[in-house]
Amino acid sequence: MNKHLYTIGFLCLASICFGQRPMADSIYHLPAVLKSAEKLDVYGGSKSTNQLDSLENNFSDNDNLSERLDALPVSIRSYGAGSLATISLRGKGAGHSAVLWEGFNLQNVMNGVVDISLIPTSLFDEMTLQSGGSAAMFGSGAIGGTIQVGNRENIVGGTQLRIGASFGSFSDYRQWVQTNVSKANWMLSVKGFNHTAKNNFSFLNPVLPGQPIVKLTNATTRNSGVLSSFAFRPSVHHKLSFHLWVQDVTREIPPSLTEIFSEASQRDQMVRGMMAWRVTLDRAVFKLRAGYFDEYIGFTDPGINLEADNRSKNFVSEGELTFHFHPQHRLNFGVGHYFASAETDNYAGRNTQHRLVAFSHYKLSNRNKRLSGTVALRQALVDGETTPLTASIGSSVLLPKGFLVKGNVNRTYRIPTFNDLFWIPGGNPDLKPESGWDMDVKLAWHQKKQPLRFRVEVAAFNSQVRNWIQWLPNNQGIWSPGNVNKVWSRGLEYESVIGFLLNKKRPIRIDLRSSYALVISTNSATGPLQENALDKQLIYVPKHNFRSSLSFGLGKFNLRYLHQFTGKSFTTSDNENAIDGFHLGKLDISQSINSGHHKWRIHLKINNLWDANYERVAFRPMPGRHFQASIIYTFKNIKDNAVNF
């Protein structure tokens, strides 16, 4: 029996590998533009992705990542405007989605999460949401999926400048600037932003006697930052690049509906730097990268006399060698060393961690690239202890008549956070990494028939995470984390686009997009005190998420209505308490004016158009109908004979 399988397997491989004529010129050419999420671009062809950068074309440029992602049927746990927001992908927790900047994971080593409300989209050219487990490619934490942000290093020759400013309800002011200067063999890009808001919106407080309309207090935020990138190509084989991202956030923490007032505030300061050296040879690419990440979170609450300073530092270095020994084969190997340290009063003893990682990817495609397969392997040693060997296999097949089938099977893992390991009291240094598996399959169909264009995608996923870390009180009431739960997530995703484009003197565009996600994520095993949570939906994971938008464009005028429905989500593990589902509407109107190298655009946005009263986190009020107006100026002078790098 086995023999037969081998034979069939060999024949399949043979038909892919040897069924082709040798190519006359087998020198592999680099793609014209290298994406910042290069690994995903090259080896993630079978993964489910959404381009976030193009999602808001013609509209918002000043969103934060949380606002941008809201146009997709994913669940965002937001504590309100200007407050903490985390994302749950495919039914997993906040710590199960990695945010990667230029390929480096930004998950905080102390608490394991990334606050996506702090990441402005104006700092990045490229943003991609990748759904589904991808720990073999991106490491610990990439269980539900990843969000990848970064900048193109285009050495194109020319100058580009973009400036934007907006003002909105509740004293919300945002300014941003993007500059890009490039000559024959170098480019410099500087992007900066500043965002201040009072967030003092009115809401109905159902807790107070008489249910009065009150204003949110202690909600002022100030967020500013700069990201600069420099790339230099000393010779045709070498490229050096440097990125530095500095950001400073001060925000007050507003009271929940059940608190009378709050004096709490939080300061976040980040310094993130990285450099890369890339050597491109005829059949190989060698990359060496190093990163330094310094993150400070200071929390102050005079109300309970609390001042907590948390600082973590990460040093990351990675080396990677890629072989293009045949146009249809690509193989890479890499090793990495990650060092993390944390300073806080809440830990004692050891508060550092060394991780050694080895990884390899292999991609195989047939000659016309209609069929491709990827295998990824990753092994990490955390302070000398092995973590699960993580592998993934994926394939993508382009069928006739515009059909595409993709599928993946992945192992996933997440190592415990520093808080899980070292917190006093209760931290559990004996915790094992969470580990699981994940599989998905996607069927896509697209068709173009001028002036119409259709795209329909349907995906199904099924995954499990074992040794899920849960904090529970012990028999003396001391909270401690344990590898106690098992979580089973499964669901369906649907997306369709119908486009209409009539290319006249003033082109007419109509776009109807709809997307829906069904996520069932339940505890299939629980700890001793969580019997009532068995087989219940995870908290703050709505089963239903629906988005639909209708946009209309005439020449340089654009109008869009976006409708969002987020289903009911449970707030307690026994599913006895829930917050209601809600419908939100959003209207965007924009008009551009072009004149030579110059372009102006004005944009008006109405959020929560139907003035819905809703909560994303229980007892955390959200703003009613509110407005934002912005103006964006673009200057672009890029040579036509540009060389992309």
Partner: protein, 360 residues
């Protein structure tokens, strides 16, 4: 047409039958005074983003009504409902993180008013028709106070700032004893107030971090101390710096500690001292539930139950123990009832993080 009506009649009859089969679950509590004959449980509610609740257990039927404040007043209580206390036909619901006490009519739970201006309040003790005492930790945990509250105007009339996390209060004659639990730090004092003059009368030193008190049959005051816990760099308890919890007996005529029993295990954090109806046996939580006869002469360190209870109470009518099982602290908890000999009697599903039980 007629057949449709018949069909509808059949459905109606069927549903009535169905209702009939569920009849034993429908308890109609006669109004007024629908919350008179039963047990009140305060449930803290989820830590950050939630509201606490009060549950009512009907004594005869065992039927539980949850969220009765919300039901009667159409609004939630607020964040962290610490305790409930009954006094002269009213129930005082202490809402810790919302810095208030909601005052309701005990019979129907309709709101009478709110005592505001508090700072992390913990417990209420009614003194007479005109005043009550409130213990609170204060915003730092070291600027705790006892307030005298006018029960007619529901305003604070006097404040004793005493620090150290004032916790439970107990009245004996004209005196009120206040246990200073240490708040976020450490303290070892019992403050005594004269309720006629509203003056501090005396202070008694006991073990570290006293949190609860009971009177025995002979009029002795028993004080339960948690002990002060200090942790080492390697997550273990710093045994040198920590102190053990213990039980202290105070002669209330002399205001002196006359007997002290110190737990042998310093890691145990005892709390929730309660007494049986005869006032001969004390119970408290620690490493499980402990039982201590007041005249035993030695500490009984073998727990009678191994459960971890977040709160503990004794039914003055039956002597049964009511233990608050908060489960995972993020789902509805239970009140579990055990006979004095430790046999399980029954369990009631209540709200999130039940912590305080009173009997009416």
């Amino acid at each position: 047409m007629q057949s449709i009506s018949k069909f509808l009649m059949l459905i109606l009859a069927g549903s009535l039958l169905f209702l009939g089969s569920c009849k034993e679950e429908i308890i109609i509590i006669p109004e007024p005074g629908k919350y008179d004959n039963g047990i009140l449980v305060s449930n803290e509610g989820p830590f950050q983003n939630g509201t606490g609740t009060v549950s009512f257990i009907h004594r005869d039927s065992g039927f539980v009504l949850n969220e009765i404040f919300q039901t009667e007043n159409n609004r939630p209580l607020g964040n962290i409902v610490q305790s409930v206390s009954e006094h002269l036909g009213r129930v005082y619901i202490v809402v810790n993180n919302s810095n208030k006490i909601e005052v309701v009519n005990a019979a129907d739970f309709e709101s009478i008013g709110t005592i505001e201006g508090l700072n992390q309040p913990r417990y209420f003790l009614g003194i007479d028709g005109n005043k009550g005492y409130v213990s609170e930790w204060g915003d730092t945990g070291s600027n705790g106070a006892v307030h005298v509250v006018d029960l007619n105007t529901l305003t604070i009339t006097q404040t004793f700032t005493i620090g150290g996390g004032p916790e439970r209060m107990l009245r004996l004659g004209d005196r009120v004893y206040v246990a200073n639990s240490g708040g976020f730090g450490s303290n070892n004092k019992i403050f005594i107030y004269d309720v006629n003059e509203d003056l501090q009368e005396n202070v008694i030193d006991v073990g570290d971090n006293p949190n609860s008190m009971q009177l025995d049959q002979s009029g002795n005051l028993w004080v339960l101390c948690a002990g002060n816990k200090v942790y080492n760099a390697d997550f273990s308890l710093n045994l040198d710096a920590s102190t053990a919890g213990g039980l202290y007996r105070i002669n209330t005529l002399a205001d002196e500690v006359v007997e002290s029993y110190v737990l042998s295990d310093k890691s145990v954090v005892p709390g929730n001292l309660v007494v049986n109806p005869d006032r001969t046996t004390l119970y408290y939580t620690g490493a499980g539930v402990h039982e201590q006869a007041v005249n035993a002469g030695a500490l009984n360190e073998t727990p009678m139950l191994n459960n971890f209870f977040y709160g503990l109470a004794v039914d003055p009518q039956t002597g049964n123990l009511y233990g608050c099982n908060a489960r995972d602290f993020n789902s509805n908890g239970a009140v579990e009832v055990y006979a004095p000999d430790g046999t399980f009697v029954t369990s009631y599903d209540v709200g999130i993080i039940p912590g305080n039980v009173i009997f009416r």
